[in-house]
Amino acid sequence: MLELIDVGKTYPKAGSNVPAITSVTLRVDAGEFVAVQGPSGAGKTTLLLVAGALLRPDQGTVRVGGDDVYQLSNEARARLRALRIGFVFQQFHLIPYLSALENILAAGVAHGGPDLARRAETLAEELGLTPRRHHLPSELSSGERQRVALARALLHNPSVLLADEPTGNLDEQNAVMVFDRLASFAQQDGAVLLVTHDKAAAGRATRRCVLEAGRLSEPRP
């Protein structure tokens, strides 16, 4: 479903190239919930952006559903992001002038689809947002905002869900709700890649990897 083969990415800094991730190879199959755990600055967000077709790596290949993501045209890659990848960020990234329901539907701006409005309502209901669906993000709690972001990621029923510290700003109750939904997505044949510095959060995944200084390793069970 999601496959990274020998992927490397460096950033230019003070006249030299600083490696963010080095020779990362990772495969997340349908039904898998993989957590990549690592300390701050280990390259977790870079790994997620590369996997999400947003950041072209310096080397290696990234495949989503068999497509070599960075061999696709810009338009095709945008379409792939819109329809086959869902993102959940620690900072939620909700659009401030749209209501909760409209933020969920914002995932349909780039590529519309049939019954998106009904699906948005369903997701809002599943995530307990129905009473708050017409509220602006500024009127929602952190947990509600993250649930809106999660619903938005799920609107197009993607095959891959990429989550970057999704519970970093949440209380335990909301964190549990988010993890449960990620796990549920994986159980429905989705592929989930979670990056987090929190060992406990990583423990919720079905498989756990460690990213340290840009290198990925998988501890033995």
Partner: protein, 422 residues
């Protein structure tokens, strides 16, 4: 959710920024439309003033024309055509020519293509006494009235023919008679047709009778001893032109100009006409100067407001892009394509342009109408013509926002999301 709903919601959310852009467009459009309209109103007012002046001039000229008719009638004619062999010393001593020419000459002249004379009047005149009224000397003029000249538009006759059996008396000849009284002149009976008012010249001792009666009295049937005419009102050497034309048609005659006052009056009339035309031209010149001043002001105001509005709209668009940096990163992550992102920002610019143009146009019309130089109204066609501004304003707003929109495309979503996350 459509892209345009996103645009609408964003505008509603950031009302102030949008309103400031709209205000800039409104002011620029008002300045442009107002200036164009003011110039149009000025032109219209100029047309009104010039038309009024021309009408006034025409009225004055018509009045002058009538006055000149009367004046020239009173003064008599200024061209006299005499038989060639008349001695002018004798003529001026006797007040009449003692040589004769065929009456047919007048018809020949009238039927020619002559253009240098008007109002042709054949006469047979002689100075005689009036024994029945004990008047020692009077000038008796036989006339058949004015002969229309074929080559010219028919003009109002100076002197109509004296009706058959009637006599017109100069003021000093009235001797207690009234119009309608019968008088006898050298044994011939005439009824007084009219007594002329006092003129203080030879006309006061002149009597006019029908030409045929005079020819019979003087035994000069079919003959006349002069023709009177009014010389053309041309600037060149008039008399030589008249002489040349007449001599070509009637070689057995001579031409004399004898009443320069009439000519002077006619020339004065020409000068008045020229002065009236000059007054209209001066007014037009004055209005053109005023227009020039207004144009110069508009040439400064309009570009300044347009440039300021463009800069302001561009700046606001830039600020909008910066403010929405995180949103751009997110929308890119959600698969928004470049053309969609461009549409998102440029649609906003189009709305800024349209929303500002409509009130701007109205404001321009109102301002121009209130400063409109007294013209009744602008030409409706011109006002409709200004509607192009409503199309142009969004285009200009798009151009002003173009760089800002392009900068939105250059934002790297990965970079934004990394910064927002860290």
């Amino acid at each position: 959710m459509s892209l345009f709903r996103l645009v609408y919601r964003e505008i509603w959310f950031r009302k102030l920024g949008f309103a400031l852009g709209v205000l800039a467009v409104t002011i620029a459009v008002a300045a442009l439309a107002g200036s164009l309209l003011l110039l149009n109103l000025h032109d219209r007012r100029t047309e009104e003033i010039v038309a009024a002046k021309e009408t006034q001039t025409q009225a004055v000229m018509a009045k002058l024309e009538d006055e000149i008719r009367v004046i020239t009638k009173n003064l008599g004619f200024n061209i006299r055509i005499l038989p060639k062999d008349v001695n002018l010393l004798d003529f001026f001593a006797k007040d009449y020519a003692d040589k004769y020419m065929p009456e047919e000459y007048v018809d020949r002249l009238a039927n020619s293509k002559i253009v240098s004379i008007n109002h042709l009047l054949p006469i047979l005149q002689r100075k005689i006494d009036w024994p029945e009224e004990k008047i020692p000397a009077l000038l008796l003029v036989g006339t058949r009235g004015e002969v229309p000249i074929l080559a010219q538009d028919k003009k109002k006759a100076f002197i109509p023919a004296v009706p058959k059996g009637k006599i017109v008396l100069g003021n000093l000849l009235e001797r207690g008679h009234q119009p309608g009284d019968a008088v006898v002149l050298h044994g011939r009976k005439f009824v007084i047709h009219k007594i002329q008012p006092r003129r203080g010249d030879q006309d006061d001792i002149t009597a006019w009778i029908p030409l045929a009666d005079a020819q019979e009295m003087f035994d000069k049937k079919g003959l006349i001893n002069g023709m009177l005419a009014l010389g053309c009102n041309c600037n060149a050497d008039r008399l030589s032109v008249i002489r040349q034309e007449i001599m070509e048609i009637l070689p057995e005659t001579q031409v004399e100009e004898f009443e320069t006052k009439a000519t002077a009056r006619a020339e004065a009339r020409t000068k008045v006409a020229e002065e009236a035309k000059a007054a209209v031209a001066r007014e037009q010149e004055h209005r053109a100067e005023l227009r020039g001043e207004k144009e110069a002001f508009a040439a400064l105001l309009v570009p300044l407001t347009l440039i300021a509005a463009c800069a302001w709209v561009g700046l606001l668009a830039w600020s909008n892009v910066r403010e929405r940096r995180a949103e751009i990163g997110l929308l890119r992550a959600l698969g928004l394509r470049s053309v969609q992102l461009l549409t998102l920002f440029l649609s906003r610019a189009v709305l800024v342009g349209v929303t500002g143009a409509v009130p701007g146009l109205l404001l321009g019309v109102v301002v121009a109408a209130s400063l409109g130089d007294g013209a009744t109204a602008a030409e409706p066609g011109h006002v409709i013509g200004l509607l192009w501004i409503i199309v142009a304003a969004p285009l200009v707003a798009v151009l002003a926002s173009w760089l800002a929109a392009l900068s939105a495309l250059r934002h790297d979503p990965a970079n934004i999301l990394q910064q927002e996350t860290s």
